[in-house]
Amino acid sequence: MTAIDPTGAAGPSSGVTGHSLFAPDQRTNARNASEKRFRAYGVVAITLALLALLWLLISIFSAGLPAFRQTFIEIPVTLDAAVLDKAGHGDPKEMASVTTIGYGKQIAKALAEEVKAKGVDAGTLTDKEIGEMVSEDSAANLRNMVLANPKLLGTTVQFQALANGRIDGYFKGRVTMETAARDKNTSPEKLMLADKLRAAGVVVMKFNPGFLTMTDASDKRPEAAGLGVAIIGSLYMMFVVLCLALPIGVAASVYLEEFAPKNRWTDLIEVNIANLAAVPSIVYGILGLGIFINIGGLPRSAPIVGGLVLTLMTLPRIIIPTRAALKAVPPSIRDAALGVGASKLQTVTHHVLPLAMPGVLTGTIIGLAQALGETAPLLLIGMVAFVKDFPGAPPSGLFDPSSALPVQIYNWTQRGDPGFVERASGAIIVLLAFLIVMNTAAIILRRKYERRW
């Protein structure tokens, strides 16, 4: 056959197999089919993973975003000097003898008056019951405000009080008339009044920066709970981890990779570091409890202890990627530096380490991000405690009791009031935001320092 038949319709003319190229044989069909199946598995796996992620994000955000909005009751409160400062000297020390209950009564009275002034029908509710619509925490806020500025006594201030958690829950759809009827902490009448007050502009719902700045609150006051202490505690711990784990981790990696002789001991150390990275984090908590608190005598619940424990946990997670990054630097660069007479240390600091920097930084930030989200070891060193006071400024603040973001989330999920579910989800959003910022930083640093050789 001399003419070329582009269609192949004439069939094979020769060849060992006797097959035309246009008609795939059985083996080829089987191979192609298995490849198609494999690709399908991959697509299915990715789709499932994405759906799971989507579902996670939707559930967290739908549950957590309301935490950033809060119901407030805005009323003018007359600060009666005769009640709040019986001695009449305007001395904050004497005024401190009036407890929050006294201030609470003032707020309740002010709200009842406001209800009447706006001409809102309170139904069968007594003044005391109307007062219960305001968060108990507001009285403390008002008290702090007055003690900080005694001149306010005798004046009428426009006060923004937190609404009670049930009222807040009603506007967020968490509390309904049916549940309120069974709830001894609130009643359908209160909710109806809240509706009317909202129409009258006394009750408003708006963005709540206090969620990020306020301290934790007790079980009955989810509306007053904030992440302030937890965020500061977490930042302090990250500071400790960064200051300790980065230099120690990099120094250890450089020594092991560039200077240490390769013998049985260094092999043993290498295996141990790899194993330490896989040790459950709660083990580090027990270690920290034993060493830093029982033997070292450091205070419980303190960010310094949390930071030390997380440093121990993070070290292998920094050493492993740092060593990998150092290994990835081509030996020709070391030869070049040694060849012009650089010392070993100069070779490392001038050439090898800068080239390994993207890997080191990425490893460090990923290690920090893991440490930021770590809960278990912190439970053991007492960071799960209820902390109402902000820790002081560093360095002494590092020894003050504090909380941490993941522990705060764990803590809130243990609370009875459903208002804390929303708070916990909101805290997860904050934690995720921190992690996204850190991972973005890792990517940016990696891009910035990445060089070709």
């Binding site: 020709s332 040694l338 060849g339 012009v340 007479g341 650089a342 080239l355």
Partner: protein, 264 residues
Amino acid sequence: MKDLRLERDVQTSTNKIEARKVQVYYGTNHALKDVDVDILDKTVTAFIGPSGCGKSTFLRCLNRMNDTVASARVEGIITLEGENIYDARVDPVQLRAKIGMVFQKPNPFPKSIYDNVAYGPKIHGLTRNKAELDEVVEGCLRKAALWNEVKDRLQSPGTGLSGGQQQRLCIARAIATSPEVLLMDEPCSALDPIATAQVEELIDELRSQFSVVIVTHSMQQAARVSQKTAFFHLGHLVEYGETGTIFTNPKDPRTESYITGRIG
């Protein structure tokens, strides 16, 4: 080994490096056996031989780069102007400033062209100020026949140059510490013929100031650039002498076999 030509040459040119009974072991592997060589000043000496014959190993002994290989052990005496470089008092860092090295693959630092050349003088404190350093950099780049190509982009990265330019940059970097000997480990094996020709020309020019030792796989290259040639085989220095003699009238049958392409 007692080549008459070599002894005649010694009268006209001084010995820069003398190696006596050099043995190198990698672990239990005896890689280099009983090597005796005198390397002359202001001469290009070529080391040739089949792969794994020990020529690169010997080259790396000359500036103690083998120190960086944990399993390597060197015995025997290598002197630079009468001083044993393996003496305990010798700091390899100082030695390597005196004996520069150019590697097989161009390996500029991932820094600017200027910084590549300036690095050696900087770490050895050879210049007192920026102006002097600028001068050294320019001088070395000129000697490496690279100045005209890069003078307008000294701050651009050295890794952005072509292969031949990178290798000449590495040569400039090696001579920036004003070494007395320049070791070159197959400097042209990663280069195209044009870049190779440029580097070879450069080697010939460098001979006026340095003693150059070059390891090469190309016998033509050895013949073109060197005055002295040493042939290594299986860890032995088989023959050492005038390049012309080695290539036209080798004494050892192994040398002849290698040169005519029967072994290696």
